[in-house]
Symmetry: C2
């Protein structure tokens, strides 16, 4: 088992109104930032997951999305993951490190 | 000028309480997902930005974070970007890997 740093991006589907995104887009234009568009505001859920490999980490995360993290009727999800750097000696840290 | 797909992840700093993250972590454990930890919930702001190259797109996005998108006292930001698919004529080189 290794640890995976997982980011789940939960964003409103394209056909769902996103007033927060619209407001940010207008505010950026008012501040002078030209050429910014398609602003969408969602949730960024970052966590550490134990899994044997990347495929298993992704599969487990998809199950979490289905069961808790996202509402597929109105939300899209994207999953990104990368391996957490391991200490060379300890093969399996029993508890999550209190780092960060 | 080309278009860049930009993701700004705005998350609570490590020393700031994150009750949403704590609640999700407990709920995942209650649903039977073992080995999940360090859950933090932030905002995922996705947008398209016009810029000459990746460095300019990143620089403009950092200014947006400073001026509007994030509160650096309590929030961290991460920026990821990649080139939006262009018409095949544009000889723009591939975007550099998003720094982590």
């Amino acid at each position: 088992m290794s640890r995976w740093d997982v980011l789940v991006e939960v964003s409103p589907r394209a056909e769902i109104a996103d007033p927060a995104g619209t407001t940010i887009e207008r505010a950026l234009a008012a501040l002078g930032f030209a050429g910014v568009g398609e602003v969408r505001v969602g949730k960024a859920i970052r966590m550490e997951v134990s899994a044997a490999d990347a495929a298993e980490a992704r599969s487990v995360t998809e199950q979490m999305c289905d069961r808790l993290l996202a509402n597929p009727v109105i939300e899209d999800t994207r999953i990104e993951l990368c391996a957490v750097a391991q200490e060379p000696i300890a093969p399996e840290p029993a508890a999550p490190e209190p780092s960060r």
